[in-house]
Symmetry: C2
Subunit: 323 residues, 2 copies
Amino acid sequence: MDRLIEAIAATQNPSVVGLDPTEALVPAQVVASFADEIADEVEDAADRPAAQLAVAYFEYNRAIIDAIADIVPAVKPQIAMYEALGPAGVDAYTMTCEYAQSHGLYVIGDIKRGDIGSTAAAYAGHLSGVAFGAGESGPYDPWHEDAVTVNPYLGTDGITPFVEAATAADKDIFALVRTSNPSSSEIQELELAGGGRVYEHVADLVERWGQGTVGQHRYSRVGAVVGATHPEEGRALRARMPHTFFLVPGYGAQGGTARDVAGMFDDAGSGAIVNSSRGIIGAWRKTGAYSETMSAESALDLVADAARNAAIAMRDDLRAVMP
Amino acid sequence: MDRLIEAIAATQNPSVVGLDPTEALVPAQVVASFADEIADEVEDAADRPAAQLAVAYFEYNRAIIDAIADIVPAVKPQIAMYEALGPAGVDAYTMTCEYAQSHGLYVIGDIKRGDIGSTAAAYAGHLSGVAFGAGESGPYDPWHEDAVTVNPYLGTDGITPFVEAATAADKDIFALVRTSNPSSSEIQELELAGGGRVYEHVADLVERWGQGTVGQHRYSRVGAVVGATHPEEGRALRARMPHTFFLVPGYGAQGGTARDVAGMFDDAGSGAIVNSSRGIIGAWRKTGAYSETMSAESALDLVADAARNAAIAMRDDLRAVMP
């Protein structure tokens, strides 16, 4: 986790911007501005709307990345938003990851993959790249992710391939432990006959999965996803998982506050990175400055300015509660 | 689940062929045969090996689909194998799904997605398609899946969007309950303070998620993944989940036998479909008929013939244990 921790130190900002575009979040004139280009380039008319939205997602992300790259350490594109558009969306996802990396950002691919061992090894290609036909420069990397999120429900043999791939490529993973959504309690909070709850047992597995990969900043390559909506549990997990870095969703739009996440950090103010998606990338909708008659260019400028301001406000909000 | 059950009845074959290509499973001359075409069509040399392997995967799948479409009801492409190649692999995945559907096969996309509510709604686009720009023929469907597998760790609000999308599109989902891998016991078998084990609690959730979507053949749109490697648990789950159709991985290469899966079927011989991947699509490697000097065309013929023979053998093996 050293690269991420160093990026956080360089920006003095433990926050990550979730690049989770939706049709509602991208100003309509930005989407419309690609209609002609897509009509020219995409042969089958049925494929055009998804392709048009995908291109708009990338341009929207690009405007946001340009506006925040010097003040945040990382971005976290949520692949679901892109998969919703099919392969054209997946292209926009990888282009977004590549563009963010080229601007010095650490890219957390929020893919929540998980499967049995042999299949997990294929998913771990997200981190290790494609060995087939690799030249002297090493494996081909089509995904451009520095870390990915994974689902622990299948146990150790579904995680080991990711840990190995992360170690070989100087990358990281984050395993779901305690998610931020209301129904997360249904399985994660179940009390165990042997004491503790399911998520605590998973927490112990995650801490163990990271053993042997602890970096110079004390954290392993296996992080944990711990929702901001569970502040007390987060504080307890911080103590329980001393070598596990936390990725904390749920701040902002989902209701988590800086005070809620304060306990996720360690005594030195490290140990966690807090995500906000809509609160940053959709900040333009709350400025009052948007108009349907703006040009696409002006609308993207508004998106970018509002995202930067919101990212600065979030950074300062978090700094105020840091030890 | 009616469409799948009817497809099984039509073929009298409760098995599904896992289309999980790897570099080792595709004869080398098939991969090599696309080198020139890819060199012409793919501008950036770095992109070529993954693109070449992806095209080879599709041709391999196509040969297998042509050979089995009249004797099996369904195929289950594992998206991890395709994601390992990046966007070019994802294209091969959707092309495979589309080709299988065009040959009358029910396509189970083994994607094991799962996330919080709003994000799960985006993933559910795999089933619902793209609403943006939809014409009179309804949403654009880039994925061509009839069902997808989902991960239950985030609870009800992560599953509901899939159930709604499945219902609207006359499709289905399968939630992981008891997976076939060795480490599955680490979380799934934990004993609960309130009695039972984690996977049994998940089983009850899955049965509940399907309520209100029960079709005319008695099963709901929410199936369960139950590994063949747990025959006793599978038998007990069959009784515990009367409206839940089972997708059973782990037969063949993973060690499960027809006897092991017998208890997954209901008294009428319905209620489950058994997957085999390598045992079918890699059957050519055990024929003794392969030679490195064969043409690509001959190698694909061998793949196809061996897959058909293996699919027939599996069908007959399962029929022998059916009630």
